[in-house]
Each structure stands twice: as structure tokens, then as C-alpha cells.
Symmetry: C2
Subunit: 337 residues, 2 copies
């Protein structure tokens, strides 16, 4: 099928010179005469010669490929990050190979293997919710392949990270709810072993404490999906325990909660304010539109790629954690100041 792609040897043969001369001519090596260069370049142009990236990789031991592992490509936040990675990588002439773990630690391990044997120059990773053993990442680092984690990082591994200040953002969101008159707050939270969700939880808790609100663990409820958000609202409603302010671990959960509240004819934000997290695509679509924390996924990906490629090309060994700024996006699911 594959018809023969033009190689440097083809050009050499046609011109009756050696392959080395062609190679040097194409990259303006001073040893080559102007005339030879001209002939070579013209023919290369005519035959649409493209250097064989694979041969170059073999030579240089660099593939110019970045491997990515995310839980799900379909998830809006992750695809935003990927898009950011792709942008910076493109600028630097890197390609990206994407794999997804589907929140399955086993798959994550096999993804590492795949990318390693694909000889990627580095990896950008957001781990599974359930990843507890990090040996596969240590193996990768052991081969000299750098990793940059984003969003969901791994505790106890010495490597670069790009995150946001989940604690601070949650604190601010909670305080906004308080300032706009909410007196009875609740937080829908995610799995505890994820640092980002526990940080958001602590931000919520500390904001309450600082503002002299009573706090106990009943104010933290496990719910981190559209369905669970819905269910939990119905449950709270039945038990007559609905709050007047709700801060959720992500936008989807908020959307689920709002969907239930709408069905119950409970007015948002008059009777209950809802604050999400992530500023995903859905936050503009909900009724009413959702106040949320902007977590700039594109920038996160872009930054991760920047750090990684810099590490690849300059072989620096310093380990840094980059904290990206967040900001509150106030829409119509919360009252105004």
C-alpha cells in the first residue's frame, strides 16, 4: 500500500552524489558548495522530500512525542487541558499521544507501559481517583522520562505539578455565599483520597469557621456526579434538611442539584444559592446559569507542556509546583453582593 516515500538516498542517487552530501546540503552545512545546495534543495522540493521522523528519532533517541494519560478524554475539563497541551506542543513541534485510564488503575499502569515503549520524551498525567500505588510512575521516572502531573497529583513523588489553589478557591466561593446572605451551608464533596477534593472541603470548612459558623461533619455530603447531586437533593428535601447555600465539588454535581431543585420548584437563588467548581461548558447552560470557580484547563495544559518540554530540552532537574490563579465566576445561581 504505502508507496515509497522519497528519501535522502533517492535524491543522492538521482544527483549522483552521496547521501551525506545531500544531508549536509539540506541543512546549509558550510562544507557544501552553493551549486550543490541549490540542486539538492530544488530536487527535494520537487520530490516533496520530508525527513523521516522515525530515523531521526532512532538517531537522537528523542521522539518529539509527549504522552498523556487522563482518566477520560470525554470529560470537558480534561479535553480542555489536552487542547492546551496540544497548543504549546504544536508550537514546539511536538506531537502528543493520548491514552485514557477510564479511572482504572490497572489501565493506568498499562498506559505507562505503552507510552514507555512508544519512547515518548515525557509524560503529562492526571491520575485515577483510585490510584494508590505509584510504582508505575516511579518506574517511568526511573527510565529518565520526566512526568508533569496536573490537577490530580501524586503525593510522595518528586516531580513537577501544575495545580490550582483548590483550598483558596473553595474558601472564596464559600465566603461569597456567606456574604450574599446564606446562613445554612452544605458542601457536596468527592472521594477523600483525592487531594483536590479534600482541599476544596477544607476550604469550605475553614471559611465557615472563620466566619463563626458552626461546623461539623454533617455539613459535608458525599456526592460528585450529576445523578448523585440530584438524588441527594431529593433526599435532603424529604428529610427537610435543605440548605440555603450549596457549594459543590464540581459543576456536574451542581447541575444535578439544580435539576432536582427545579423539579421541586425551589427557587434558585432566592431560596437556595448554588456554587459549582470548574467553569465547564455546562455552567453556562444550566437554568439559571451557574456561579462557579474558573479553573483554566487550557492554561493548565499549556503550562504543563511548557514545563515538560523545558525539562526535556534543557534537562533541568529542579522540581517545581506551579499554582495557577483561579477566579470566581458569578452568574445567576447565587445572589449578588
Amino acid at each position: 500500500m504505502k508507496s515509497h516515500q522519497v528519501t535522502i538516498k533517492d535524491i543522492a542517487k538521482i544527483l549522483g552524489i552521496s547521501a551525506s552530501t545531500v544531508s549536509r546540503a539540506l541543512k546549509d552545512h558550510p562544507d557544501i558548495s552553493f551549486e550543490t545546495k541549490k540542486k539538492v534543495k530544488e530536487l527535494a522540493e520537487e520530490l516533496k522530500y520530508k525527513p523521516n521522523a522515525i530515523a531521526l528519532s532512532l538517531q537522537s533517541n528523542k521522539s518529539h512525542i509527549i504522552g498523556i494519560i487522563v482518566p477520560q478524554i470525554v470529560h470537558h475539563f480534561f479535553s480542555t487541558v489536552i487542547s492546551g497541551i496540544e497548543e504549546y506542543a504544536g508550537e514546539k513541534a511536538y506531537n502528543i499521544i493520548i491514552t485514557q485510564s477510564n479511572e482504572n488503575p490497572e489501565k493506568e499502569i498499562s498506559n505507562c507501559r505503552t507510552l514507555l515503549s512508544g519512547r515518548v520524551d515525557g509524560m503529562i498525567v492526571s491520575r485515577t481517583k483510585d490510584t494508590e500505588n505509584f510504582d508505575h510512575f516511579r518506574n517511568v521516572l526511573g527510565t529518565g522520562t520526566p512526568i508533569v502531573f496536573f490537577d490530580r497529583t501524586c503525593h510522595g513523588i518528586k516531580t513537577d505539578k501544575v495545580v490550582i489553589d483548590d483550598y483558596k478557591a473553595a474558601y472564596e466561593a464559600t465566603e461569597y455565599l456567606i456574604k450574599t446572605g446564606c446562613r445554612n451551608l452544605l458542601h457536596f464533596s468527592g472521594p477523600e483520597n483525592l487531594k483536590i477534593t479534600s482541599k476544596r472541603m477544607w476550604g469550605f470548612a475553614d471559611a465557615l469557621k472563620k466566619n463563626h459558623f458552626p461546623f461539623n461533619e454533617d455539613l459535608i455530603i458525599k456526592a460528585d456526579s450529576f445523578e448523585e447531586g440530584r438524588k441527594m437533593i431529593f433526599k435532603l428535601h424529604k428529610e427537610n434538611k435543605l440548605p440555603d447555600g450549596l457549594f459543590t465539588v464540581n459543576d456536574m454535581t451542581a447541575a444535578g442539584a439544580m435539576s432536582a431543585l427545579n423539579e421541586l420548584k425551589i427557587k434558585i437563588p432566592e431560596e437556595i444559592s448554588v456554587f459549582g467548581f470548574t467553569n465547564g461548558a455546562i455552567s453556562k447552560i444550566t437554568s439559571p446559569s451557574l456561579s462557579t470557580v474558573e479553573q483554566n484547563g487550557h492554561l493548565m495544559g499549556y503550562t504543563a507542556a511548557e514545563i515538560l518540554i523545558n525539562k526535556i530540552e534543557n534537562e533541568t532537574h529542579e522540581v517545581l509546583t506551579k499554582i495557577l490563579p483561579t477566579k470566581l465566576i458569578i452568574r445567576n445561581s447565587t445572589r449578588h453582593l
Copy 2:
């Protein structure tokens, strides 16, 4: 940085045998004695030897990489398709390299170049809305690299396609609106040079005609995003031209329309039914939840990968167009039968 990855030569040197023997031992070549095989395999295991994919590629002229070009990774439908591609590719030990054109034909051309010089074995593509010249795709095909188009295909290029029957799906959706009592229908449409949107439009038009409804071009309105959907509803409302049934070219547009209708306190579906297209993530989130056409992106990607890899490995030359089934998803933005 990159510490030396163990190669076949390392194993050979340690064991005092030749590289060729190691190579054959690892793949159970009958020429090699049992003892030698055992020694080689044990050492390979111990040193965590992984064959160098790049060297293999150079040898076989196969990279085991599939290149993907989509307008936007972030778009839910496309990321669903990518996820499907990734799944089948993973099963067949292929990697995927993803590029996005950002709806920019220039970028699409450069993406083709990038993937070509990355020596991908084949490509899966959904083109830009504005791509009018297809020469870059013809160039790719000219190098013997097969392409499978999905969703947005290219007219006049002889290559495989995976699509849905947009016409039929639109026809059925429209007919559903009619059957549930809508008498005054409108269609929010996309750019005309995209086959999929014009097919959806014709499906809408023919359903009207078949049901003896008057049809004229005023029933087709250009609006294919959340914002435009919103604006157009407000405009129609001001002009007192709101329909009692709305079929949109995609879910986002429907969501925008519903957002405006909600603000105008117009009841869905009592006063106006809304029918979307795609069954994206947002269709469950809208208030009320959106009736829509299921366009199985995951299956589309999976199928495209199947066709492509089959073509790569078996070097078949037949060109086929696979039409995937759709079905109506009836939720709460339309009345029931």
C-alpha cells in the same frame, strides 16, 4: 537525562552472545537452544527490556500510530469519537496522535503535514467547516497513507467514510414533533456547505412536505451555537414569530434556545417543543432535559478505527461508506405520544 534504556545489545554483551541470538531467543525462534532462550528471557525480564518501538518502525516502515484531525478536541462529540478510536486502537496495539484544526483550513493543512512526517500509518479525519479545497487530503492519499473520514466528510474524494443517516434522523425527529401536535415548526440550521447540516435541513423539509405542511425557506434559520440559539429566540419573540416546535442542528443550539425560552417564561414543551441533535453531555442537564437524536460518537470512532486498521493491515483497496444507526431519545423538552 534519559538514562540508557536497555537494548538487545546490552543483553548480548552480558551473556557473551550475539545480538541476533538475543533477538531470536526472545521470539522463540527454533534455531535457538532452550538453555540460551531461558538465559536470555530471564535477563530480559530482570533488566526490564522493552523493544525499541522506533527501531522497529524504521525497520518495518510501520509506526503503529494513527493520526487524528478534528476541529476541536474540547467539543463533546469529537472527544467521544476520539475515545472510541482510542479504545479500538488500544485493542490492536496502535497509538493515536491527536491534532486539532480549530476550524481553520490552514491549520488542517499543516496538521496533515505534521502527521505525514510523523509517519502515521493512517489518518482519521473530520474536516473543518470551511475546508473547500481537498488537495492536502489527496496528497496524503498519494503517499499511500489511508484516510477514514467521519461525520464531516469530503465530497469527491474516494476514501472510506463513517457517518450517520442525518437525513433520516432529521426526518424522524421532525415527524415526531408533528405527531405530538406541533403545527408551526422551525429549524435552526448550520452552515450550508457542510453536508451533515444540509442533510438535516432536507430531512426537516421533507418531513414537513410529506405531512402536507407548507414549506418555505423562512422556516430555515441560521443558528448553530448556544449564543445564536439564544439570540434568535429573543428575536423571534420580539417579532411574535415563535413556533410551537423547534428542531435544531445540534444540542448546543437547542440549549441556547431553551435558555432564552426559560427566561421568557415560555413553557417547554407545553408552549413549544424543542428537539436537539447529537445526544451530547448537555442534553441531560438542560431544564427540561432535551429530546435529541442519538449520534453514537463512541461507536463512530470505534468503527472508523476498525476500518482504518483493517485497511492498514490487510492493504485492501475497497472503499466503503459505513452508515451508523441513530435513534430518537425522547426526554422532557417534547410532548409525549
